[in-house]
């Protein structure tokens, strides 16, 4: 939800406007979520080019399938779900063509800029998240993006609520250990 002047335009309104034949309303949704979707894709893919393509694919699919968007659902959950599954498909394809385990595919050799930023807490946290197993990485990224809403995370990942909570607990445990060393 955001404000345009004094009028509040909800995501649902923007979806309705797009479906009513005003595609420019979808542009506002892109402006609202492109960064978050890219963040999710980058944390999942750990490759900027792949994340870029997955983000684009997610919005394209969302635009084409907007008619299937259920009234009352959250657009953020829906777009995150599309993006996450686009990433999973891409990872599966990449794994098929790669002998090595994909999560280790990204270049983890720290460059000079990386080394300089090592002390930065955000940088360290980002790196710690990237080193998590894939399933924990997605949960922890969505925990951040969805502002702790477990049901929404479960919906995006298509996992039972209990599994999400377990994954989150283990992810935090691993993060805590990585950051304390």
């Amino acid at each position: 939800m955001s404000t345009l002047g004094t009028i509040e335009v909800t995501d649902a309104d923007l979806v309705a406007q797009t479906l009513a034949g005003r595609p420019e309303a979808f542009g506002t949704l892109v402006e609202r979520y492109d960064r978050a979707v890219f963040h999710l894709c980058l944390r999942t893919m750990r490759d900027r080019e792949e994340a870029r393509d997955a983000t684009q694919e997610a919005f394209f699919k969302a635009f084409r399938g907007l008619g299937t968007f259920k009234a009352g659902a959250k657009f953020s959950t829906w777009i995150f779900s599309i993006a996450y599954h686009a990433c999973c498909d891409r990872l599966a394809k990449l794994k098929r063509f790669s002998d090595s385990e994909l999560p280790d595919r990204a270049d983890q050799t720290p460059g000079p800029a990386d080394l300089a930023e090592r002390s930065d807490e955000a940088k360290a946290l980002r790196q710690a998240i990237d080193e998590l197993p894939e399933k924990y990485r997605a949960v922890i990224t969505l925990y951040h993006l969805q502002q702790r809403q477990y049901e929404e995370i479960a919906s995006v990942l298509n996992l039972p609520l209990g599994t999400v909570k377990t994954h989150l607990f283990r992810a935090k445990e691993l993060l805590r250990k990585k950051l304390s060393t």
Partner: protein, 122 residues
């Protein structure tokens, strides 16, 4: 970071979102909002009505023919007669004659000459 879960939570929530690559938004918008609509076959109402009518008549004829053996054999007989007539040497002869006349006529320039326009009235 001291390893405490609350601190970790706070750090997670404060984690800035990744900066998307330049041009990502533009490329998304170009592929969605500003993309030309896919060309689709758009039929006018009368065309849909015509197609529907033809389909209905075709279905009706098929059912009638399937149910009436005498009519079917009559129709087949008629079709055979047409095919036989078309395949007869006389038909080919007439067709050849027609084609020759058409070819011969096309060799003559039958377009009238353009009359030059006079500049003044007499």
């Amino acid at each position: 970071m001291n390893g405490d879960y609350d601190d970790l939570d706070r750090a997670l929530m404060a984690l800035p979102l990744e900066e998307p690559p330049a041009g990502l938004r533009d490329s998304i918008l170009a592929a969605t909002v500003y993309a030309p609509p896919l060309e689709s076959i758009v039929l006018r109402t009368w065309e849909i009505v015509l197609i529907g009518t033809l389909l209905a008549v075709g279905s009706w004829l098929a059912i009638v023919l399937a149910q009436n053996e005498a009519l079917t054999s009559q129709l087949i007989g008629g079709l055979q007669a047409v095919v036989a007539a078309l395949a007869a040497p006389t038909t080919f002869l007439w067709l050849a004659c027609g084609a020759t006349v058409a070819l011969g006529a096309s060799l003559y320039n039958v377009v009238p000459r353009r009359v030059p326009v006079r500049s003044g009235h007499s």
